[in-house]
Every structure is written in C-alpha cells, then in structure tokens.
Amino acid sequence: MLACSRAARQLGVQVDLPVAEATALLRRAGGAATGPSSSHKATLHLETHDPAADRIALVKLATWCHRFSPLVGLEAAAAPDTLLLNVTGVTPLFGSEPTFVEQVTRRFQQQRLGVRLGLSDTVGAAWALAHFGPGNHGEPIGAEFNGAEFNGAGANSSGSPEIAVERLPLAALRLPDETVDILERLGLQQIGQLRELPRVELESRFGPQLLRRLDQAVGGVAELIQPIQPPQEFTAEWLFEYPMPQRRVVERLLRQLVEQLCFTLAEQGRGMLRLEGRTVCQDAATLRWEVGLFRPSTDAEHIWRLVETQFQRLSLPGPAIRVSLCASHHARLQVRQQELFDQPQRNVDSPQIATLVDCLASQLGRAAVVRCVLQRDAQPERGFRDVPLVDGGLRGRTAAAQQPVGGLLDRPLQLLDPPQLLEVLAVAPDGPPLRFCYLGTHHDVARQWGPERIETGWWRQRGIRRDYYRVETAEGRRFWLFRCLAERRWRLHGVFD
C-alpha cells in the first residue's frame, strides 16, 4: 500500500501495509459494520501504482500552479511528490504571506486536492516545513474524494530558515533513510543538534551530501528550481465592439485571425495540425468547429480554405460577439525545399497529397480519409484497421506492414458488413450450397474451395465459428459465403467484384 484515503486510514489501513492485510482489515470492518445502524458497507478499491502517471499528473498540476508563480518546478528526486514555487515578490499581489497561503490552499481545495504548504527563504527549509512543519506532522496526505483533507501550512514568514528548521526532525533534510537511521542511532533527533557538531567530522563520516542538504536548508548553498514550461498556446481572438450580424464581416475577420495565427506559428517554427474555432453569439449557443491537417502547416491561404468550408456549413444563430481561434495541436514545421522539376518519385508524402487529404478530411470528416493497416486477426472483418491520415497519421508509417496471408484470390474485394442472409436452395451434405439465391437470381455452384474454418477465441465477447466457402457459379461468378455453425444458416460475406 503506497497511499490510502482517509476513510481507509480510519479503518486501520496504513501505508506500507500488504494489500492482503488491508483487504482482511476492511472485511472485518465491513462485517462489524453490518449492524442495523449502519447502511453502507466498506469495500476496498485498489489501484495499481503507476509512477509515470504520477509524474504526469504532477507536471499537470505544476502547469496549473503557474497562476501562483511564474516559476514552478518539481523537486529533484527519483519519485518527486513536491512542487516548488518561487514566490519571491509574488505574495504582495495576493495581500500578504498568510493570505497568499490561505488563497493557495483554497484554490487547491476547490480542485478537490489536499495540500500541505511550506513557505521559507530556502527550498530546503520550505520542503522541511511542508513535510514536517508545525501542523503538518508528516502525516500522509492524499487526494481525498471528499477533498476535505487539509493540514494547514507551515509558513515561516519573518524568521530566518535556521530558526525555522531548528526543531524539525532529521528526516526533513531530504537525506537517504540509511543516513537518518545512523544519525538517530547516534542520538541525534533534530536538525539543530546536527548543526552544533563540527562540520569536518560530519563530512568525513557521512560524505558531502549531509552537509549540502544542511546548507541548502539554512541558505548556505543556493538551490535552483528546474522550471516546468507551460505549454505554448497559440490563440487569436477578436471582440466586436457591438454584436455583428453580418456574416461577411465575421468571415473576413476569421480570415485575418487565421493569417495572424499562421504568422505567430511561423515565427516559432511551428505548424498547425488542428485548429479549433469558436464564435460566441449573442443570446445563442456558441458555434464551435475544428479543422484538422495532414501535415503541420502555416500556409494561411490553404488553412483559410479549409476553415471556410467548415464555417460555410454553419449558420450564424445570432449576432457574433467574439471570434476566437486556437491551434490546439501543433508540431515543428518541416521545411521542405521546393523542387524545380517534378520529381519522378511521387508518393504519399508529397505536399500536393497533403493538401488533398486536408481538403477531403475537412469536408468528409477526419475518420473518412484513412490509410488501412492490416492486422493479424482471424475474423475477416477485423483483418484491417483504419488509421486517419489527418493529425499526424504519418507517424505510424514506419510500422512494418503486415503481409497478407493466403492466396491472391482468397478474399473478396467487396466485403458485406454485416454478412447477408442467403437463401440456400440445395446443399451438399457437409459441403457448400449447390444452389442459392442472391439479389433475386438463382446461382448454381460449379466450383468451390473450402471449407475454411474460421473461429475466434473464447475471450472475444461475440466470437464466431464459421465455415467459409469460395464458390464459382455456373456462369463464372465468384462469391464468398459461410455457414454460421452456431445458427446453422448460410450467409454471404463477400463478392469478388
């Protein structure tokens, strides 16, 4: 158990407890609670620990924290669990340091997150206060579902960091557990006691890290925060002075915004992959639309054409108040040298194809313009997968192409989905139909190949068991049909057209 909720803690579950024991504890608690007075039963909800996901969530939270400070970073540890904010000169904007702490806490609570804060002159002291400061007591916090967990803040506003950390335990120095163990066995409990010992002795016995951590806590050594950059946002917006009913004006303005956004992106060497647009109308719903691109682009003319086709489908429900554009996906712009002569090798990567794909996808939808990738799957319907080309579909190109299996004419070019029920007039015993009716015409089977048994595993929810036959009729037409072994009926699955 790495973390648990407060409800679990009240039932006796602790960090570092094996899962089996925690389950047993809860079962006992649940059994005790099944009296007439209590209605709810405690059930254990387990989640596997995923350090990578933790880190991603923390980075996301760090980005969110840019509202409090221009410089936010994660602590430099293997498994960081602390955010570091440089709030020098920031607190007066929020009033004073106590009000700042209060406001930060409240904003976290609004996000349904518990938080412990430490505010000090040095990173080390702030870390120590946050983890072991007065009111914090090293109790585990967790993002509670009820969000009520709040452990107060250890703020050290006026005093120096030396005084702040004086009485804190040694674990507050961000030292390895072994070092803390040895020091505690030597009878040292607090940071203040450590500072009274001669520095030379400490260094020779425990190495340079102990002194560095100590100095970082009291401000003897500077410590940098590795900042997390907020993701760049490319937006363009226009607010009308008065509601604008004329569509032509809105369109002209959209065009200007597209050009503006393209210019900003080009300056940064980025190209647009997806553009989201919003038009806020008076007394009516907001119009939303989006345009996806096959390859990063800053070609305002091309993008405007795509935007225009999208926008023309929408009717303006009321006078427009605000128009905004946001390049929600963007990637580095690939600079491509133009060629003087038409190159002989023309393939899917060419810019002309990109323009075509963008154009088709903006009209028909992203899912309509695809590249098909073969999959190894017994079920014929799942033998391939559509990969949309827009929004960076090219990235999957390197994946090795699955080779088709079987003969050249084993599968029909036209696959009916779902398979059509077939009226069978005569069947050979344990064989294919000899005569069947399709689209009102009777067909006599002259040649047949099969059966080919196709069966999917039990783990498929809707598994299949089919005997496939490829048949050629007396006329020479070819069909692909099967007998569903479960329902004992014949179905036509494909036509060799």
């Binding site: 075509l356 070019l413 009916l416 057209d497």
Partner: protein
Amino acid sequence: MSRGSLVEWLGDGPGCGAGMLALRAAREACREGGALVVIDPQGHFYPPAAAAWGVDLQNTIVVRTAPRQQSQGARQNQEPQNTGRNQGQWALDQALRCPHVAAVVAWPQQLDSRAFRRLQLAAETSGSVGLLVRSAAAQREPSWADLRLLVSPAGPTAVSDNRNNRSPTEPATWSWRLRIKLLRCRGGATQRTVELEIDERTGDIHATHSGNLAAQLADSAVDSRQARA
C-alpha cells in the same frame, strides 16, 4: 491506358471481377510513383483482399464517403442519400485533380453527363487515371470515358484435365475466366471481345481468345492520343 484518362469498368452483375481488374490497372498506373486513392462509397472495400492482389496499402488513401459517424450528423441526416452521393463525386473530382495521385478507383453510383465531363477534365489536367467501376446498367448512360469496358464472367473453366483423379473439394484448375468487351474507345474500333484468364497462384492475366488484350488496349491508347493530337 494513357495518363489523364478515365476508364469505365462495367460489371455485368455481382461477382464478375470488374473491381479486381480495375484495381490491377490502378496498380500498374502507380508503378511510376504516385498515390492510389480508393473512393469507397458503401464501405465495402476490403483492404486485405487488395493487399493480396498486390496493392501497396502504404501508398493508398482510402476515402470512405459513407457517412457513418460524423460530427455534422444533424445536417447530413436530412438527406443522407443525396449528400453521400454528392460527396463521393466531389471526393472523386478532388482526387483526380491532384497531380501526385497516379490513379483513383471509385464506385460511383450515378454520374450525369456534366459531372462526368468535369471528371474527365480533372483527370486530363492532372494526368491521373480514373478507374470507375459501375454496373452494366450504366451502358445506356452517356460517357466521357476514354475506354468503356464491360466485364462479364466467361463461365467456368472447361474442365479438360483429369478431374476424376482428384477429390471433389480440390479444384482442378487454378484460374478464373472473365470476358471483357470493349464498348467504347476514343477513336478506336469497338465491340471487340477478349477472354482473360487470371492465374490464381501467380496473379498473371493472359488472354485466351481474340489476341492479346494488352496489345489491344495499347492500340486504343495510341489511337486516343492520336485523336487528341
């Protein structure tokens, strides 16, 4: 087949192999580079079969114009049939206009004369080959295609070899016979008929009667070029 032309493949009923032949022609057209665009209006195109038939799926863009789940669902639900068809035609036109597309294979439902002419001009300007697979009912409609071919099954292969020695489940021969009738050809003789045999193991197509189809088609291509000149 010359670049910048339209070829109509009229399939005489289901299961006659018109699409397979069109796809083979598209594969040949892509040999010198360029992408293949498949416009699939009904969502029946089955890529594994195309891959087995020698089409490079990496170089193929499939456009599924059948509106399955689209963001603009509300608007399209009003007249799904009509918009679906128009979208297919529009996509076909756009693809034919793109100079780096070598071939477009499409299954257009209906084509009026104007739309057809537009497609022909589009193909001519970009130099790509449009292969339109249609039903035999389209024979009566006007055409702007350079070639119009009627594909029909040629009956089962005459079982001349020793079928009696084989078990009934094992086929005696490994080929598929199709008949192609040249209905229309720019500046060339029409009403010629060719019988083809597709070898299932190698994929080779060879003519059985009426001379070599490739030669005939090459003739017609030359003719059409001369006619244009």
